[in-house]
Symmetry: C2
Subunit: 218 residues, 2 copies
Amino acid sequence: MKRIPQRTIERALIYIRTLEGLLKDGREKASSGELASMTGFSDVQIRKDIQSFGRVGIPRVGYDIVRLKEKLEHLILHEKEIKAVLFGVGNLGTAILKYPWARKGRIKIVAAFDPNPARTGRQINGVSIYPLSDAFSVIRKTGAEIGIVAVPEERGQEVADVMVSSGLKGIANFAPCSLSVPRGIPVKNIDLSIEFMSLFFDSRPEKLPRKERPVVIT
Amino acid sequence: MKRIPQRTIERALIYIRTLEGLLKDGREKASSGELASMTGFSDVQIRKDIQSFGRVGIPRVGYDIVRLKEKLEHLILHEKEIKAVLFGVGNLGTAILKYPWARKGRIKIVAAFDPNPARTGRQINGVSIYPLSDAFSVIRKTGAEIGIVAVPEERGQEVADVMVSSGLKGIANFAPCSLSVPRGIPVKNIDLSIEFMSLFFDSRPEKLPRKERPVVIT
DNA sequence: GACTGTGAATAAGTTCACAGCT
DNA sequence: AGCTGTGAACTTATTCACAGTC
């Protein structure tokens, strides 16, 4: 089977969410045009994306929502479950714990750590919160591979060091600071403002369809 | 001056954050290679990006951090200030209010709304929290243009409707659901899990440099 | 030698145009 | 007619290869 383009994968998660919304409204079919207006992508884009997952639509009718959703989820779920641990259970960390991860692929948060003793010992959404000093042993015991940073920026580096020495293989950094880690450990910086800002930069002048642009004769 | 590529703009925010980190450590110069290992992008990528902002580096030495940061910020700051309002002051909403927006372009959150009376009347990070019913008048009074959705998914659509009828021109949606709004109002869906997931999908097999791939003779 | 800067080559992504199905 | 599916054209982004500079 062909490789699925990176950007298609990113959009797939939006499609899944959109289809869930339609299902909740009792809908059974949806066309690429409809999905387009709901997601803000173009209808061709959506058909091209869906193409990667095989032939699933019915001409004249559209896509069967349940079937399409299954196809998309299959992509996300095909690999083994990925275990992650969270560092920092403040507002952002708590929001992350409460996020519906179960609906998106097989990411599972197996433990959380926080330096503040007032927060440890509890559970949020079924995830236990441990003191930072337990990180090494808990990570080893659970076999977690990925660490999520959601501490204030002053503590970002400190926590990153703990993550590295506990043997985590990748880091997702939600804190607004840069982390330095040994090469070989990928760090994905996730900045709340980045996607947000593109709302404005996207609306640059020449967003017209190609047809409407002046033709240049060479 | 040439247009700056979309992806460069997105990366610029990461560069700014990285440079701030270096400055805090008392550093004055940095090379593309160093920035590469700190950000996870390639060194060529970084030079190409910086190229868009004019000639700013010094061969053999690297980039002057302060100067480069100014150049990058100039890009982000060149437009007028954008006023935004936030809907939903739960964990995620609070995290958004506490985010260092001031450091990223000219986005300013001028008010927040929450249906829960226990949360209204207070301020977080200098932003007042109003009941949902005040949305229309506060938005008109402040001249806000953009709305940020950070409510639980069940209330997403309800809040989106309020935003539309209050005359907001764009929506950034952090809630894990799809929103339906009239066409003409852009919705940017920001999904905490999307960027996160790319940590795994990025590491696909053929990520070797081109040189190391088998050569095909045609 | 150790950097930056950049045209050219390559790859990835998007849009067009239209075939095909029901 | 009204949809999906898809090769081809086009655009954008990344990487290579190397010239230029200190």
